[in-house]
């Protein structure tokens, strides 16, 4: 059974504003990315996470810089939420040498250890087994560090999910498994590819708590992530969080929506996390309309600066083909 959380932690006003800031940073970054792709300035497959902002934003508000995340090809929102700087991010997705991976990884494989972005994998399911290794290292170090493994609903059907969650359960690893259930595995509807109605129910098979969370509500995500992170830091082991959400730009940017039901996306827009949370902050007196506009303007300036920076950077030298294969450069 999917569980119900008792003792729900609530983010204070400053934390709510912090979560909102992360969400806007993701949303603005995504908007500008899609615009750059449409203009032909970036030539790369792009897996927009528009609609999924609340999940990593609420979770990251509970993480320290040295806490780690392992994420997937639809994962730039997870990185931006973890405060990855935008200049090297944009240089990377633009294929420039000043990118965080020297232009060798691209949008599906960004890495930025300084902010805890350890692995971004293009293979469905593969963030989870690697996250366990960071968890094991934290136990060996005797640290309180936690690792978040992000993945999608489709990844809960691949073998790596089962192997990784079982091992984490047996070893009581400080790992939080966060399934961002956006309702589709590529173009396959959830119910046509997943035999159980809630992925969180699978947690019972791995001896860990499992919760289904409203992934469009940062307050609900915060409460569950708080419990999971506390549990991990206390040495009690992993948790599976299934955060239900929606992706507004399909599997890969440029998809048509033929595999969706008519009107489905429009209906989902009513639950778009951004306008709802924005209104909540205003209604609760946490921020004013003007303050939030100011915040948006600051973030847009940051994104524009990053784009300009990226476009001013050089492309990598072909010598890079011989570098980083091994620690030692391969002779020409």
């Amino acid at each position: 059974m999917s569980q119900t959380l008792t003792n729900r932690a609530s983010p204070d006003a400053a934390t709510q504003l912090d979560i909102y800031r992360r969400m806007v940073r993701i949303e603005r970054n995504d908007e500008f990315t899609r615009a750059q792709i449409r203009q032909g300035r970036i030539t790369a497959p792009y897996y927009s996470a528009r609609g999924q902002e609340a999940i990593p934003s609420a979770i990251s508000s509970l993480l320290n810089d040295d806490d780690k995340i392992c994420t997937i090809y639809r994962g730039i929102h997870d990185m931006v939420a973890k405060n990855m700087p935008l200049r090297p991010l944009w240089a990377e997705i633009s294929g420039r040498v000043d990118g965080t991976c020297k232009g060798k990884g691209g949008p599906m494989h960004l890495t930025h250890p300084e902010t805890g972005v350890m692995v971004t994998t293009g293979i469905v399911g593969s963030s989870m087994p690697i996250a366990n290794g960071f968890g094991w290292a934290a136990l060996l170090d005797g640290s309180k560090q936690v690792t978040v493994a992000y993945f999608g609903d489709g990844a809960s059907n691949i073998g790596a999910f089962h192997e990784a969650l079982n091992l984490a359960g047996v070893w009581k690893l400080p790992v939080i498994f966060v399934c961002q259930n956006n309702g589709f595995a590529e173009h396959t509807r959830y119910e046509n590819g997943t035999a159980v109605d809630q992925i969180s129910k699978r947690a019972i098979g791995y001896g860990m708590p499992g919760y289904t969370v409203d992934g469009n509500d940062p307050i609900d995500v915060y409460a569950h992530a708080h419990a999971a992170i506390e549990r991990a830091r206390a040495g009690e082991g992993p948790t599976l969080l299934e955060c239900k959400t929606f992706r507004f730009f399909g599997h890969v940017f440029g998809d048509d929506d033929k595999y969706m039901n008519p009107g489905e996306k429009d209906a989902a827009r009513e639950f778009d996390p951004l306008p709802r949370f924005r209104q909540k902050l205003i209604d609760d007196g946490i921020a004013t309309e003007e303050q939030l506009e100011q915040l948006k303007a600051e973030i847009e300036a940051e994104v524009k600066d990053a784009i300009e920076f990226a476009q001013s950077c050089e492309y990598p030298s072909v010598d890079e083909l011989r570098r980083d294969v091994f620690a030692e450069e391969i002779p020409a």
Binding site: K104, T121, I130, G133, W136, E163, V170, F326, A327
Partner: protein, 340 residues
Amino acid sequence: MSTDTLEKPTTEMVKMNGMQAINAALVEAMEADPKVILLGEDVADREGGGVIGVTRGLSTKFGDLRVRSTPIAEQAIVGAAIGAAMAGYKPIAEIMLMNFTTVAMDMIVNHAAKLRFMSGGQSQVPMVIRTLTGAGNQTAGQHADFYEAWFCHTAGIKVVIPWTPADFKGLYLSAIQDPDPVMIIESGKTLFVPMDTPANQGPIPIGKAQVVTEGTDLTIVSYGQMMFTVMQAVEELTKAGVSVEVINLRTISPWDKETVLASAEKTGRLLVVHEAGRNFGPGAEIAATAQEALFGKLKAPVGRLGAPYCSVPFAKKLEDAFLVQPPEIVAEAQKLVAFG
């Protein structure tokens, strides 16, 4: 047979087998470096210290957190090793048998081997994958394959196949401290045959071959348990008056081109012998490289011996025929020597 012709013992020699040598290397590495950790199916003492006892005593000595038995879950094993390696540890992941690496191919090929490159050098994955294989024990089609060529074909992972206990000790010490992923393939017989080994055998560099016997008529390159077969054939060839230079390749990728090509140039004839399938096997790469570098200098085409294009069979008669045997090596060598 002299197994250590060109090893220069600086101290007393002791008789040990490959298993004991690996165990000694692991103990030495774990004592010297608290970052060295180990995981795999049944590796801890509670489970018997490994399927054939190679890791016996380690969990008792170093604790259950550093030496961890795992579920039968190869992706989880290699994945955990990758994460721990990126977090600053030096994990040794045991995949009990080489055929089981197929279950962990995504973790090995897409992740362990590539994360350094894909991250522009930010991610380091200093891990060892140790795995056992080899035909000869009637374990048939899913427990005995040599798949080294797959991993040699994958940029970013080194592939080592030791022969002698000294190889095991020295190559393990190097692999554990290597900054990149290293796969060490342990071939059946090499673990069990006792040989004279320097008591204080130190690291043997990865990427360097060993010239086992010097000769003038023909160079034979081999590795792993096939070296035993080669040495039997060389005894016959020597009696027949053929002077053979035998090279124990030790590292299959990156392989020691310098030593192999210098020897082939000297003898003018090269024969590569391995247990892996002959088609697209490491012998093909070595032969192609030799003809590129030595075209016109060789006295005969490069010879290749390896397994036929079929699965490892069960029946003893078939298994014997599947494996390269000394008479085949002798015949192939004689053919090359007679060539010109």
